[in-house]
Subunit: 751 residues, 2 copies
């Protein structure tokens, strides 16, 4: 059945649009002619009418009725139930299974053996106010991919456990070699903490949630309020995800039943020391028993004690043993073939597995995606099938490290490279303000959609509300730049394999800011918690459906793909300025610090009654030429502006189907051109040259990661090499834009 | 007996110095000829040799053996003992008595009456580790000059209780009218808190020490460490000191026995509502019982609870009654008449009264001053009597509000105006880094001295250590500006009546930064605390004596007074830039905020489920002309540079005694010229036009207070008037400098 908008343009024959419609006073939607834009808007109005808040609520209640982490019966039931629904809604649906490494704990013991005895509870209590807090089969509190081990050592408090934190410890003459570190959650992705601790010779890592970051300091604790109660624990993976995500035993290849696998010992992504998360109730006795220097001000949390660094005298035994089994991960893949361009795929995804009860993370996003799929299915059934293929993906095993999505992407890499238009991700979502992250070629599209979706609490657009928030927070640009910037993506959800491994333009969308935190990866991320504190009434759930639904539909139906390059160039040139400034700042800071070392200022400013190890002078920071990037940027800017103008022109004047197909092929390819086959230094899996998770920050993005991290690591030769690689990449992209211009100017019709 | 240095210069007859000495390779001391500089340095070397750490220890132990607040027997004993010692050391000594209002509590009750019962202890426990913590006659925990009252109301948490904090409450729709506010210490002088609470209609104010600012968050608590233990309480005055300090019943006049007095009710400086300080142990149950909005992040302390704003349901009764008696305050005034210029006074002071046991505050500074006086007395006895009169002042009743010093200054205002060269203040002092505050005409002198005094822990100069600390803290100027800046003075110690009422150039000197805090105004500011955590061994006590002793001696012996004006101009022009920038920033911020109001951004950025009262648009900020100040500054800069050069010239080439006397009279007068007879708007007692305590910050200084506070209060007309007054003042100072130049050029010999 043809997409209903097609009827409007069919009489025009070869040219999609000869002239702007008299009725369409407004600017047409991005990538649409006036006529197709009007049709698309009508379609979206129908889409909105189909949406039902009760579905979100009912589905969340069902999904979260029992634990559904990888390998649980309820996870499999959910997969089958979701697959059945997709089929019912008209999707060609399959359950794709991978065999992934998923360790579960057999022994978990954390006990203080000196100067007094304390055995950590490592358990979250059952609460009357939370119906699922006592459910059978609850996942114990642990960190997936911790090493097995039974070690005893003095405690050292390492704050967030980032490399900078160890420099502070160095200044105080504190070495963690042969010690056990206790680090609070926050400041970086959790997997960074044991990785850095291990690099410094620690025997084990204890992670805890400090109430300063996640507990009563933030607000009332559960069940009175949404924040983390005293015995609440954040579970989570500690695989070395910035090295590669997915099954730790099968980097680059799919974890099919017969895949060649590393051993656990061989896998570089698995932690080499034991890691165990504890609650702040369990942390307090340990921290109280420590002496040594008082922690720096910024390191002190909200527990009622003086924070000391140690080492000791608190001495702790950490004993952990895991069952290192393969478990089945079930991705649900649901396709609606496109009516006109079946080989152009718009992929939409959300993970389905959760630690513990997983209401916010991931069910809140998953049920929104389901409602989106249901409505699109219903529109298709009524005759409005999308022009491009839409693939809904319900990922399993995201929590242990993006396993479901990564294995599928690795499995189908060639076909995805060839066919993917874009990937739109959601994950946990709540109440408040629109968060938009993603590829900057999609920034204009994201803004266009955000301007049209209504905020359910205020009646203004979600764009306006987000703008207001940024403006009030002191972001001057929010009131002067036409589009709100979208954030570059690091990692932390399933867009990573699409964006950073294959170069598929991606978006990551959610609402937050007014739902209280504190349930993350704990037993209390439950239906009860979410419906009280997350998004009561699921109003923002529907808003999320309206947001991503529009993005999906516009990407699926646009005449010319809605990537726009002026926004891309504006952001990328800002990143180029930033890495150049980073080098200058590093030079200035180094000069300043070396001068202070030379004048002995660090020693003189320190209290002589305390141990203090002054920093030593560092090597000079050279000047590096950014000319290659600057020249490439200039060319790119010209191409981008010309192409954006040319696309507007042809959408008004019309273009031939062959031209249209050819230009869309080029537009689809641009993000692919931002990757390098060799990947980033020391982590070849990450291929995107503009966006990557930080090697030492984890989720946190590093833009121009090759250059930026070389500067941060003071590797000037590598920084110079990376500058050339980035310049080459920008020239490649520029070349693609030029080709698109030529196509649109009719000078070249690609085969 | 002549000052020994005089012998060196006597043969030169009329001219102090005809040519630089062949032996004096180094730059002579500020204000000294080469010969007199050499003599002064020899004198100071002898001064150093006389100093004895044991004296400081013994005297502190004696002073702090029993409570010695105003009106206690031990206070009087201390006064008599100190007076006897001064006499013994060769000083013409008197005890000057004033009758000052000093209320003491009869009833102190703070109890929570709903939603549960809690009666605050209001008591500091006796500790085995602290010998005087159980001594008889201890002063109860209270705030002097609180009103009597018996009121009951719901609690509102107001953070530090500054005007800005009430704006935050306004945004949340919270009104303190008819409520009792609980405010934490810090962020402003304590007297500001009940004053602002009263202005907003509160019934009473409870002050408490949050462990975030003053307790376990900062470090180990007493007696394990120096920080405030759970039941420790900060006593203190809550008179409206920024209005006027001194006896609240006798502003402008001395509180002699027969002085005309206001009634307590008439005194505008006495608080109009009850105010009671409590410990964090007493505060926790009250804060825990509050609900309402969660406090803003910056308001949250380190108690293990979620900080709520209220109002209520915690409902508290505050019942306070005081005996409003006059008590005798005993200043000890000890004079050593100058051998050459007896009518030029160098005044040196430290208060002697303390809340509770007062070891750090004030005994640490007082014993250092005593040792300084002893050594100067000994030098005088051995023939080296100072050229100018030195007056040592041991002030009583500083703690209730600078009463001893203020009454004496008011009593002798005319003579002080005529004769005072400078006032050098100390107060509590500890271990670490040199703090220099004061008149910027003395900045060069302070730096000169600091460069010569050795830090007892590192062996470098105290200047170098302070420079190192500033440099490491990111103060770029510390390594580029020849002199370290000294801080402008607000209030908080006995320099206030000298500097801000009469215009006597003042310095306030101390060491700190490595002694742990937490004992301030509590029972545990004891000999035991100070000798463990303050300045064990009294090494910095001796360093303080060396520092202030040099300042006193150089001011007393200099040929030309060591005021230098290039430093003054450099600082004052910075302040002029700052007030002009403040106006611009206020304009920019107002425009920005009004734009946000207009676009409804505040409302849209707020959570609609919570009460939020958006700010309203404010009136436009006009442009004001600072031209009068800019022109005056230009003239002042020329005069200052010429005068500094001219002084250097005559110190090399020689000047006649009449010239010398005349120029010193002018130099003495310059600070006086910085005052206006009418004082500052709404507080005529404060006459200095450059330095004042902030009307709404208390101790914190406001430079160019008339202009700055008019801008802050958005009183543009007054700001314009104050700009003219400041310009006039700068022109007056400039005129004095020109007169000094003329004197030195020999064109004018003042009579």
């Amino acid at each position: 059945m043809p997409f209903h908008a097609k009827a409007l343009i069919a009489p025009l024959g070869l040219l999609l649009c000869l002239a702007p419609s008299a009725q369409a006073q407004e600017t047409p939607l991005l990538g649409f002619t006036s006529e197709s834009s009007t049709a698309e808007q009508a379609l979206e109005a129908r889409f909105d009418e189909l949406l039902n808040r009760d579905n979100l609520r009912d589905w969340m209640e069902r999904i979260t009725a029992a634990p559904f982490y990888v390998g649980t019966p309820h996870n499999k039931e959910n997969a089958e139930w979701v697959a059945d629904l997709f089929r019912e809604w008209g999707y060609d649906t399959e359950i794709v299974e991978y065999q992934v490494l998923f360790p579960k704990p057999r022994v978990r013991e954390v006990e203080m053996v000196a100067p007094e005895q304390y055995r950590a509870l490592l358990a979250e209590p059952v609460l009357d106010a939370d119906a699922t807090s006592g459910v059978d089969g609850r996942l114990p509190t642990y960190n997936a991919y911790s090493a097995d081990g039974d070690v005893t050592g003095e405690l050292v408090y390492v704050n967030y456990g980032t490399p900078d934190d160890y420099e502070e410890l160095d200044r105080r003459g504190i070495d963690v070699e042969g010690k056990i570190v206790i680090a609070r959650y926050g400041g970086s992705w959790r997997g960074i903490k044991p990785k850095v601790a291990h690099e410094h010779g620690a025997l084990a890592t204890i992670l805890y949630s400090d109430p300063r970051d996640d507990g009563y300091f933030q607000g009332d604790v559960y069940p009175d309020g949404p924040y983390k109660m005293a015995q609440g624990v954040q579970r989570g993976s500690v695989t070395d995800m910035p090295l590669y995500p997915g099954d730790p035993l099968t980097p680059f290849v799919a974890a099919t039943a017969d895949a060649e696998r590393m051993t656990v010992e061989e896998s570089p992504a698995i932690m080499k020391i034991p890691v165990q998360p504890i609650s702040y109730s369990d942390a307090l006795p340990l921290l109280r028993a420590m002496t040594g220097p008082v922690a720096p001000v910024a390191w002190r949390g909200a527990l009622p004690t003086t924070y000391h660094l140690g080492p000791g005298p608190a001495t702790v035994r950490v004993h952990l043993e895991f069952d290192w089994n393969l478990e089945p991960a079930y991705n649900v893949i649901a396709r609606m073939e496109g009516s006109e361009y079946p080989d152009e795929w718009v992929i939409r995804g959300n993970h389905r597995d959760g630690w513990a009860m997983g209401a916010a993370d991931p069910a809140s996003g998953h049920v929104a995606m389901m409602e989106e799929a249901r409505a699109i299915g219903e529109l298709a059934r009524s005759g409005a099938r999308p022009k491009r293929t839409i693939i809904f993906t319900s990922w399993d095993a995201e929590e242990p490290g993006l396993l479901g999505s990564t294995e599928w992407v690795e499995h189908h890499a060639d076909e995805i490279r060839e066919k993917a238009v874009a990937y739109i991700n959601t994950d946990g979502s709540g109440r408040g303000f629109l968060n938009m992250g993603g590829s900057h070629t999609l920034e204009r599209l994201a803004n266009e959609v955000a301007r049209e979706v209504e905020d359910p609490q205020t009646g203004v657009s979600v764009w306006q509300r987000t703008q207001a928030r940024r403006a009030v927070s002191g972001n001057a640009e929010a009131t002067s730049r036409p589009d709100l910037r979208i954030s570059p993506l690091g990692s932390g959800s399933d867009y990573t394999p699409f964006l950073q491994h294959l170069g598929v333009a991606s978006l990551n969308i959610g609402y937050s800011g007014e739902n209280g935190g504190g349930s993350y990866h704990s037993q209390y991320d439950s239906f009860d918690h979410y419906t009280r504190f997350g998004d009561p009434g699921f109003y923002y759930g529907i808003t999320l459906v309206q947001t991503t639904g529009r993005m999906t539909l516009r990407l699926a139906n646009a005449d010319v793909l809605p990537m726009r390059f002026a926004n891309f160039v504006d952001n990328v040139s800002m990143y180029a300025d930033q890495v150049s400034e980073l080098l200058d700042q590093t030079r200035t800071a180094t000069e300043r610090e070396n001068r202070l070392v030379q004048m002995n200022a660090y020693v003189l400013a320190a209290d002589p009654t305390r141990t203090y190890v002054p920093p030593t002078a560092q090597g000079e920071v050279p000047y590096l030429s950014f000319a290659a990037i600057q020249n490439a940027m200039r060319g790119l800017e010209e191409s981008a502006n010309s192409l954006d103008a040319e696309i507007l022109r042809v959408l008004e004047s019309g273009l031939a189907p062959a031209q249209q197909a050819a230009v869309n092929q080029v537009l689809m390819s641009t993000e692919r051109l931002m990757t390098n086959d060799d990947g980033l230094p020391r982590r070849p899996w990450f291929r995107h040259q503009i966006y990557a998770p930080g090697f030492y920050t984890g989720y946190g993005v590093k833009t121009f990661p090759g250059i930026r991290e070389a500067i941060e690591q003071r590797n000037w030769e590598e920084a110079g090499e990376q500058i050339e690689l980035v310049a080459d990449m920008l020239i490649r992209v520029s070349g693609a834009l030029e080709r698109a211009i030529q196509i649109l100017e009719g000078n070249e019709i690609a085969p």
